[in-house]
Symmetry: C2
């Protein structure tokens, strides 16, 4: 600790020297707002509806806070508690007040900022680390450095806005007692927080960089971009989420945090929920860098991945704009969040004015009060907005795009959307759910991914932090629509192991919108067992809507028990199999998440197909699955061993196949019909499928036939399991008929009339 302090003092000295000899005189504001931009904004005021409306709202909010007076309480609480919420509100309001000062040129905002900054300055000098001890990197204002970094990212902007308003002496006092020690605390004094590839560090890097840009402190800017050179951290240490702190040979700093977690496609390895969270520091610091250090060409970095990632983020949402809850993710978070408002406006302004982004901005209903927000507001005003076209899209994972990915298949106007995950671990927020999926109809979950077990910022629920059920339930394989072998999670639920592996794409083809297919393989989740899952979104005659075909092929060197869950949302309508309801409820197992499942019903298939229908949000759904005689069909309910009611009581059906070496699960999920409790009309309440059959299952080939009730049509999907070359010709004899095709799959309407 002493050594670190020593380095800090030395660095400050060097920095002061550098500043003294710097000939350049920097304008203010220069980060997010610019002198020129402010002039332009003032000129347009009253003439850009969405900008004007945002300004009015922000002004009302800030004026109300100014009227209430300034409060900077002694830090005490976890997330959601009073002191936490107050300091959080303070930094949000400071940033807004800075913007208002610049745009409206009303001194009261500058006074408010100045007064609050000096209150912080007076407090910070002697402030000890935060009294709450749960974090691996405790902050001072907040319980973790992460939130202190949030504070500095926002407050740097406020400082930039009043920089010229303050006297040189005032600035010196603030920088010496508040900003510089603040930046040092979250970086040099907490390298375990600062010097990582992690969304936490992104915030830390951006915070140090933002204040460095305002102070024109090149040492801080370099530290932001490239991290701390000698952090003295041991290799392999972990944080309190179980994530690695230091990995041998890994680059750190802001640029590394762009390079590493983003794939070349712009997919962020932690998933969209955390991408959304990280987007703010990524984009806001990028914008500031662009304005102050254009020579850095940050928006062009890694083939413009930051701009690309905004497009990806929007594509990772359902029809209501809510993000798919891949890995740790709180449901309900959407592209309407303030972080995405920021990211989107910046991406629009610096990314070539894509008119489709404007329709999302319209949904957001607000813009940034800066140059980029103005550009968006003008674009909308001038009628340039176009509907954002969400696509079927395959997103690679990994810094080089070589660590699996996520495949999204969409039909029509998000009428049905498949989210198929064959990605890498996703750092410490990753779940053990190789080849898992979720399915949506518009914004309604048909088959859900549970998401995280946490109530973010709700103090009553474990201080608003991760609950222990996140680890014991939400991360486990059985919590997902993914295959579980022998009641054990993928990689044994071991982060160290999971982090070494990823699934591999076999193929992804959406060239035919009526038959879109993605297929991937996983060979490491269970040593000795290989899984291949192929999912197809198909719209065919005899079906009212598209359906999902799910073919999961398992090949193992040993006999195992396989569990394949389907977490359907809604009310059970009908099954074609019998089941018994236990007189008392027991858990399905004792570990790896099974301890959280009550066994609500135990059934066996009566026929070669098992069927379950349910009703959700006015639509009927049916799962039809090819069943073996020995299969168990278990109805489960989440919520066992949940002493604080942290989990939702959602349902699932788990297909259990015991004492089996190689097997293939074949299932179809249909959406059909509708029901309204107002008209009380029930329409098309039954499945359109009379039969599904696995016709061929060899090492080389898989063939599945779906027969429709209405016209007896047979729809067949044939897969070449080992050769995916697009030009490879395949010949396969099925029931004395020869089928020929090229490429990894073929969809055939056998009895097409």
């Amino acid at each position: 600790m002493k050594m670190i302090k020593h380095i800090t003092a030395l660095q400050i000295f060097i920095c002061v020297l550098l500043l003294s000899f710097s000939g350049r005189s920097q304008e203010h504001p220069s980060l997010i707002l610019t002198k020129e931009g402010v002039q332009k904004i003032r000129a347009e005021l009253g003439n850009v509806p969405i900008f004007d409306a945002t300004l009015e709202k922000v002004k009302a909010e800030v004026d109300a806070e100014i009227a209430l007076g300034i409060e900077t309480p002694i830090p005490k609480d976890y997330s959601g508690g009073y002191t936490h919420s107050r300091h959080k509100l303070n930094f949000l309001i400071l940033q807004k007040a800075g913007v208002l000062y610049q745009i409206l040129d009303d001194e009261k905002y500058a006074i408010y900022i100045k007064d609050m900054l000096f209150q912080y300055e007076a407090m910070y000098k002697d402030l000890p680390v935060h009294p709450q001890t749960r974090s691996y990197a405790r902050g001072k204002l907040f319980w973790q450095c992460l939130n202190d970094s949030n504070w500095l990212v926002y407050v740097s902007q406020a400082y930039d806005c009043v920089y010229d308003y303050l006297s040189k002496k005032e600035r010196k006092q603030l920088e010496k007692n508040l900003f510089r020690p603040f930046a040092d605390f979250i970086s040099i004094e907490n390298p375990q927080f600062y010097n990582r590839v992690h969304n936490h560090s992104t915030w830390g890097n951006a915070a140090v960089g933002m204040i460095g840009l305002v102070m024109d402190d090149d040492e801080l800017i370099q530290r932001a971009l490239y991290g701390i050179e000698d952090d003295g951290l041991p290799i392999g240490a972990k944080d309190n989420d179980g994530g690695f702190i230091k990995i041998e040979g890994q680059e750190v700093g802001f640029l590394a945090n762009v390079d590493e977690p983003f794939s070349p496609d712009g997919y962020y390895t932690e998933g969209p929920y955390y991408q959304r969270y990280a987007m703010y520091p990524f984009l806001i610091f990028a914008e500031a860098l662009h304005n102050v250090k254009p020579e850095q060409k940050i928006f062009e970095h890694k083939d413009s991945v930051l701009l690309k990632s905004v497009d990806v983020l929007i594509n990772l949402s359902d029809a209501d704009g809510e993000f798919f809850p891949l890995n740790d993710a709180q449901k309900g978070m959407s592209y309407k969040s303030r972080e995405v408002v920021t990211a989107l406006d910046i991406a629009y302004h610096y990314g070539g004015h894509n008119p489709q982004l404007l329709s999302i901005a319209e949904e957001q209903g607000q813009v940034l009060l800066d140059d980029s927000g103005l550009a968006v507001a003008i674009g909308i005003r001038d009628g340039k907005a176009e509907k954002f076209q969400k696509k079927s899209i395959n997103l690679t994972d990994g810094a080089n795009g070589e660590q699996g990915g996520v495949g999204i298949l969409r039909y029509g106007n998000e009428d049905m959307t498949l989210v198929f995950k064959y990605a890498a671990q996703g750092l410490s927020h990753g779940h053990y759910d190789k080849l898992s999926f979720s399915l949506y109809e518009k914004g309604t979950e048909i088959l859900q991914d549970y998401g995280l077990a946490r109530f973010v910022n709700i103090e009553q629920k474990g201080g608003g932090n991760y609950l222990k059920e996140n680890k014991t339930w939400a991360k486990q394989t059985i919590a997902h629509n993914a295959l579980v072998q022998n009641e054990t999670s993928h990689f044994g639920g071991k982060y160290e192991v999971g982090s070494k592996h990823h699934s591999d794409l076999y193929f992804f083809d959406t060239s035919n919108p009526e038959v879109q297919v993605v297929s991937a393989k996983e060979k490491n989740a269970y040593p000795g067992t290989e899984m291949q899952r192929t999912m197809a979104l198909i719209k065919a005659d005899g079906f009212e809507k598209p359906f999902l075909l799910d073919i999961l092929k398992v090949v193992s060197t040993t006999e195992n028990q396989y569990d394949l869950p389907f977490y359907f949302k809604g009310q059970v309508m009908k099954t074609n199999f019998d089941f018994i309801n236990p007189k008392s409820l027991e858990t399905l197992g004792s570990d790896h998440g099974y301890q959280h499942l009550w066994l609500e019903g135990k059934g066996q298939p009566k026929e070669n197909n098992a069927k379950l229908s349910w009703l959700e949000n006015g639509h009927f759904y049916t799962l039809t699955t090819v069943s073996d005689k020995g299969d168990e069909l278990n109805f489960v309910r989440i919520g066992a061993n949940d002493p604080e009611f942290n989990l939702r009581r959602d349902a699932g059906l788990i297909i259990r196949r015991k004492n089996t070496q190689n097997t293939t699960f074949v299932s179809v999920v249909e959406s059909h019909g509708q029901y309204s409790p107002v008209s009380e009309f029930s329409v098309n309440a039954n499945s359109a499928i009379s039969k599904i059959e696995l016709m061929v299952e060899t090492k080389e080939y898989t063939a599945v036939v779906i027969e429709t009730k209405s016209n007896g049509n047979q729809l067949m999907l044939v897969l070449a399991n080992e050769d995916k070359q697009p030009n490879k010709e395949h010949i396969l004899k099925i029931k004395n008929k020869e089928y020929r095709w090229t490429g990894p799959y073929q969809f055939i309407n056998v009895n097409k009339k």
Copy 2:
């Protein structure tokens, strides 16, 4: 049976005679549309937006059906099945086609009606009763006479519209082979269905009356209005819902069905869900009667109760327009249903053009295509609509308003709404839930009434009919927020006993919008035990929103176990008491609904107050209840012994007080704060109450104090339990301080600063 047939033939003969000598020549259409009305409609077309839009929608719908061709399948299915749905759609389309023929004067609609009617005529002659046997009164086209009656109510209107289009011979053939036998079948041949006071009979009466009006058949009209004189039914017989068919001395027929189930206030004893269902035949037949037999003065009958009841029905809905699920009621049914469109338009037109009804019509987004719908459309077009002001309202139950009732307390713009039930049994659709309540914030249920156990018209779920869990769960007392003694439902769950009794209002006072109080007593649910429940909706300093105070006083001649459930909706946030979660789940009991409850958590109070907070739809809620040391606090989950997943897995907290003779349960339910998963801000997540105390509990007086956290204010409600005279002066000494007031209650801010 033979005798009945004989009577029918004789009646037909008399009828024909009457017709032959009738000098009056009736115009057509004359029931819902009138010749004059049609002229007026044609003149306004293109100039009344909501009417034009409805017309366009109806035309598109009917044209599509005409294009598909006519189908009248041989009856086979229960509700929701194909033949049921087809015949149901047929009568709805026929009625619409009739209207289109009149308004658009396009012969294709008349041809369609004529063709379909003759197809029915050909089929009906030899049609046996419906093959499904579940009903106490099987229909011919449908499994129950009820649906056959629906058919005739609608088809009569179609016939009226094409009456003049058809030749005399054609009319004769239809009347002889279809309409008259149809009317006789649902009346004379099914007196157990027709000759009752019940929503079924209302449909039957209206059906017979409607066709009687078209045919100008006075014998049918009289039968509709006054029933069958000698039905030969035994006293005390029951239908398959368990309802009485014949009660000694009871009047029958349409007028009796207006007189009996409606209270003078316009409350329908079965509850709003069934009132909505019955509204169509009530109002449509009333309109027809008014048009054809104005001398009947039907709209003035019983102090204009039919018109009044429309207003009541709207008042029995939440902020989304969904009806409170009193007694058997499917949730989600709302005043947007087609039946209420009909009722509302007619009530507007014949009830003095109340401009508040127009705003509801705007929400409905459609109008009737007749004189009354035109009046509504013109009213809306001319900007006359005013917001419907839902009120705090006390509605008496019983034909004379002397059988208890329902009290609704509303604060603000439906910010909080209490529904308090102290009514009569509610005929065969009644639940055993004396002094039960439910609580709403806008359209969100805070504490729910379960509703019914049925999926209306969804064939997969028990043919769309009542499920056995409706009786074993939904009707039982423990399924409600109502007191259960010794794990036995009110009246032992016996319909014969429950039907003899009702609760009694003690007082209802909403003169002060900040302190609204209703109090009622129940002396018969458990012989030897008297309950008095007082519920107050209070808005006071120190509270962000209004809160509900619930005082339930129980006095008994014996020691009992009392269970008081609170069916909270949402995710548990926090309790101030410890509880254990069982390792395996057992049911809470074995009968009276208890067999459907899993015991999920078992706790005891740690303090004098037990607290439970939960989160629902972005709002926090807290229940605070005065607790005894020996109380059990049981978390329950609905869904045990539910072999077909017919029940929702909703939660409840049951306060259990054992071995107790007299006791008073005192609880407060607060709504506070908010949470957004997009901003992730959690605001005001904690209860504002530091303590609730029962200060006085004597035979004569009850006094409760609520202490607020923010300012330590003490809010006291004192009740005079035995003398409710408004002018009676009371003096009560509490903690050496003397309080004086007049009337049954007083609300006192003790430490008001």
